[in-house]
Symmetry: C2
DNA sequence: GCAAAAGTGTTAGGTTTACACCCATGC
DNA sequence: GCATGGGTGTAAACCTAACACTTTTGC
């Protein structure tokens, strides 16, 4: 197991057997997307992840990884689960597939991985591969390829957490751009919940709750009728979430 | 840091720097209770916890700890958060307080702790101290003493998770005895949510949902009017939770 | 008999659901 | 002008919240 890593000329001590994995969600073209890494010289994809340094907290480690992959500093991040089966995936199989990138000796011990999910404004992200991958790219949630390790399971659990927290966390604020249309927001809800919502009822409920304000602008340059733009009334949004949530079950 | 532990004549390898802590909830006399340990020769209390062996999963480790502390085998267990600040509590302070029980050298490295909460039927538990404590006892949630380490924060987060999951997990099934009265159940909700509920509205909603059935018995030997007994209609209860939850916000 | 807790119904207000047509725009 | 997506109202059903008195029991 790696217990040190070099950054410039410095050796940095790591917490042994502990890693973290990030599911980075974005929303674009009406669908949820996640950021994946393609391992060097392969067609194999996995979630971005990293190790924990002895002198940083778990959250700090996650922020560091997020910053490295997206270029972004202020990111909405939630720890959602820690994955700790003894044998989280088929070690021999992985060693064979990745032998040219990582020394198989690195797999002599199990690793426990802390799962984080992140929400980012798709438009502001510059995907950036790490030293073991040669591509970092957005994938539509609906056609994510088979993932390496147990990352399929990690993604499942992240989605589940996201669905649950949709009613209690300011998901919209972090996944939508500053100005957005009502259909944008509705489709974000639909994408996360995986079901259709009636647009009249959706609009009524959202406007009633007071969590958004209508701007005196419309979105231009789109085909068909120009939709109005809205932005979040942040204080009110958080109040509503705190006072019991905003449900579209 | 301990990296081995002896069980009988065997040495068991541990995952370094990783521990787990359990918040074990029970419900009795209309209040929520948790199980705490008193450290040998002190008046200091903490949550039950343990280490992770190399050959067991996190869940298995939690089950082992729960079994040791409560004597129970089948326990409702949820992992709710992993605590990983670099300096989770004042190490010097703790070393001084517990020097007579644990060699201060054990604290030379940080530890990351995985938080689990458990729900148990109060009546079925036999509290059992571990080798570092001389008492294992129930405490009313409302008068839990100052806890060692960062266990106060862990308890906070466990409670928060419990509140959130009350609407989606079969909490009642695990916290109440097999047969219970409507006021019992209502007070469980009140204790978890920390607020009063109207008994007429509560009963209406619970009975409408079909998650319990009224038995042809009353609870005898109680002062005042004998209340009817109910039991969960387990299949229906889980269906309702799955289809969007059962809220008393 | 009295104190304490159990049990129970109604009403008003609010929320949710279901449902369909016209409008503005780009091509 | 037509295809596409945006925008909007109403009525019925359902759910929630508010509210107080009678019953049973042990002491």
């Amino acid at each position: 197991m790696i217990e040190k890593v070099s950054v410039g000329s410095e050796d940095i001590e790591l917490v042994p057997q502990l890693t973290l994995d990030c599911v980075i969600f974005g929303f674009h073209d009406n669908v949820l997307k996640i950021l994946l890494l393609k391992w060097k010289g392969t067609d194999l994809w996995s979630l971005p992840g990293g190790v924990i340094r002895q002198n940083e907290s778990l959250d700090e480690a996650a922020i560091r990884v997020l910053k490295e992959r997206t270029g972004m500093d202020k990111i909405f991040l939630r720890q959602f689960y820690t994955f700790g089966k003894v044998q989280r995936y088929d070690t021999n199989d992985i060693q064979k597939q990745l032998a040219h990138v990582i020394d198989p000796k690195l797999w002599y011990q199990r690793a426990i991985s802390i799962g984080y999910y992140a929400l980012v404004d798709y438009e502001e992200v510059f995907p950036n591969p790490d030293h073991l991958s040669d591509e970092c790219a957005w994938w539509d949630l609906s056609d994510v390829p088979q993932l390496l390790f147990d990352h399929g399971e990690i993604l499942e659990k992240a989605l589940h957490a996201l669905r649950l927290e949709l009613s209690f966390q300011p998901i919209g604020l972090n996944l939508l751009p500053e100005k957005f249309t009502m259909p944008d927001m509705m489709r974000m809800y639909e994408a996360i919940l995986g079901k259709k919502i009636d647009p009249r009822n959706f609009q009524k409920k959202i406007l009633n709750s007071g969590i958004v304000v209508k701007l005196k602008e419309v979105k231009k340059g789109v085909a068909h009728k120009s939709p109005f733009l809205y932005k979040f009334e942040e204080k009110r949004y958080k109040e509503v979430l705190k006072e019991g949530g905003l449900f579209f079950i």
